[in-house]
Symmetry: D2
Subunit: 253 residues, 4 copies
Amino acid sequence: MITPGELIQLVSPKGKRYLRVFDPEEELHTHDGKLKLKDICELTYGQCIASHLGRNYKVLKPSLYDLLKSIERKTQIIYPKEIGYILLKLGIGPGSRVIEAGCGSGALTMALAWFVGDQGKVYSFERRPEFKTLCVKNLTRVGLLHRVELQEKDIEEGFAVEGADAVFIDVRTPWDYLDQVLCAVKNGHPFGFLLPTMNQVARLLAALEAKPCTDTEVLEILLRRYKPVPERLRPEDRMVAHTGFLIFSRAQR
Amino acid sequence: MITPGELIQLVSPKGKRYLRVFDPEEELHTHDGKLKLKDICELTYGQCIASHLGRNYKVLKPSLYDLLKSIERKTQIIYPKEIGYILLKLGIGPGSRVIEAGCGSGALTMALAWFVGDQGKVYSFERRPEFKTLCVKNLTRVGLLHRVELQEKDIEEGFAVEGADAVFIDVRTPWDYLDQVLCAVKNGHPFGFLLPTMNQVARLLAALEAKPCTDTEVLEILLRRYKPVPERLRPEDRMVAHTGFLIFSRAQR
Amino acid sequence: MITPGELIQLVSPKGKRYLRVFDPEEELHTHDGKLKLKDICELTYGQCIASHLGRNYKVLKPSLYDLLKSIERKTQIIYPKEIGYILLKLGIGPGSRVIEAGCGSGALTMALAWFVGDQGKVYSFERRPEFKTLCVKNLTRVGLLHRVELQEKDIEEGFAVEGADAVFIDVRTPWDYLDQVLCAVKNGHPFGFLLPTMNQVARLLAALEAKPCTDTEVLEILLRRYKPVPERLRPEDRMVAHTGFLIFSRAQR
Amino acid sequence: MITPGELIQLVSPKGKRYLRVFDPEEELHTHDGKLKLKDICELTYGQCIASHLGRNYKVLKPSLYDLLKSIERKTQIIYPKEIGYILLKLGIGPGSRVIEAGCGSGALTMALAWFVGDQGKVYSFERRPEFKTLCVKNLTRVGLLHRVELQEKDIEEGFAVEGADAVFIDVRTPWDYLDQVLCAVKNGHPFGFLLPTMNQVARLLAALEAKPCTDTEVLEILLRRYKPVPERLRPEDRMVAHTGFLIFSRAQR
């Protein structure tokens, strides 16, 4: 049974997806007619509800991947292919206390909040009010805001957090904030960056060399999809060629 | 302060890495001489202890990435680049109940155990006793065995688990076990596969088409590393070209 | 000086490209006004001619790459990234006698005709009249038709050519024509195939194993472009993920 | 029939390859015993000759790809995947007059000499005497030296060639020689570069922006091989991740 407060995903006959915290009082107005969400109470995931025009909508369990896809975005977001790797490199898990700066639309924020669980905490910093608002909206919609402490401020003054398990920085000039990062992250612990251009990567690497850091790495991740047709299996025609370079390092004071 | 029972990582002057659950009574015998681990009690991560020959070993906080790298392996393991993506697609998080079959050396098992937290559970199945033993050893060493219920049995008889949040199958002929997967996973929830050859992917896709599934996807993930030299930034000369194809789908009964 | 009969490329202020065999009598009608091509007689490449509305068009020397880009196409064409590699693997050079089947729009035909020179010959086979016509048009426009013997026929009956230096086959079921290929190509010489799907590749490989062949290879070529901005160097956002798999082998009777 | 003076390729039972200009007087001493090459006179390509120990060596027609693979190298060479693309972008063909600087071991030199034919000419420049010697040796062995004018000199003084159809530069600081390139290549014609690091690419792009150039492009080419096993089709485990970035531009004075 699907209970109120759970995250649900509705898929239209044409594949359009709607993501909601399930509220039985809600009515969803679509091109296929009106859906009374209280009908969902009697279903399991994988089953369908009908609109008042008789069109069937599948009710599926959203994975974190689905949540990330559903984000309302005003910026280039970090993709799932990068997010998964970031989590492993930063050692994020239930109970982690992690700092993130440059939330943008909140994709990484959402993933961090998902994995730290109710025992963990995400400290997020965003300078631009319109992105902070968007981030709050995206986190609220999926019920993860309570795990995030979201501050609208420039990180130049520092994070006012100490002993973070990990830090991730997604801003244009990260080399300006390395002292702040090293001050906030626990010694011997990992931190990371996402940067779109090679020039930024070179500049960041030079700055890291001047700081007490170790284990510095640079990499990029590519994802290639295939058309899932068993008798004509082949890659899709086009793919994303670049989102950004990932840089990881570790404090060693 | 580093407390007994924590996972620690020791890095030798030449970069060799040792991963341990910290036991102050332990002595580590290395090419650089003997290390008394009780010296670590007075350190923070990022600092060094000296061997009896005066060689400095860094003590770093291992991330999940480090744990996965340290695995003793007798099989091709699933790489972090795939693991991160699998987590997101399967919606794994604190509290998840997930089934995995074909543990091999236990890399994915370890990652799943890491992320489900103490409220979650990983149900793992491995047919070959030598791999089960190896898996137990790898999980024990990093203190994650208590979150895993590891059974040595063929999955042909089914999983004897119901209502799993997600399932991941890494066996040679996954098309033989689709009924068992669909029986074990909650309706509307995701499951996935890793397969090395195109022929297997084609055969699995054909089998999935005959089952009540939706949202089937095929993809592969590539990771390219760069030499982290700011004034001569360039990709490394060689890279891994293939580990396997990932296939995801979702039960829709 | 640019002489009549040479291939020229005109580039509009907005980057639109026109490819021509230079005829001083021609007038080109464009959105920027009329260009009298006889003005080109007094120029060198790299200079500009003005339209009657005073807009400047650059006159550039087209490379083979430009010719291939300008092809009028009704099919998926083989890309320059594949064509260059095919040439090297097949050993094409001035004087080569090469067979090609499945001309499509004539991209590979054009490249082969370019490289075999006036001493060589390209024997091309195309079953569908509309593609043969298109191929003739594309080759005529760049002045290379005289090096090509283009036949509209099914290759099931064979090529009626013997002792070819190399063969390239771009048809849907190449495994049906291996005897014809082996009959036409000189012993010990190379031949190749382009195929879009994995299923086709597997089927072709199985068929090749039953024939007197050696040195069989399968590969694919990916090209990633960068934005040529010195202070913000980064890959383009998207790229072609797949055109086809290349298969090469060699007759060994 | 195979005639003296032709390029031939001998393949041992274990796959070792020998490349020769066929001289019937030659005896080849191998681990499998002595081969009298005059026995080849009675063969066609694809057939075998036996060593005095009775081991069979296949005689195959080498393609340009095979010649490039056989090069004796003391430097990182340009790979066939790049060479094929360079040829198309530079518009090389029978009769071309092309300048190349930084021959290294002579891989690109060989490919250019192959394609320009006897009517064309390759002007090659190499500063270091040991590489010039190696280059001469590699070109002589495959019978292509007569198409190359190879000079041991620094290109700072210029090429002393005018009106080249194309130029390719493979040196460490190409930005130092742009005036020389622009002076040597015909206006409106293409030229190119190979550079291993991003820093060099950024610096070259900045230098090109200050010169009368157009159509500047940056790209890289990746090649992925598959194991040619029809029932277990999959990419090879590892691949070359980087040889260099290709940069192309065109003179527009």
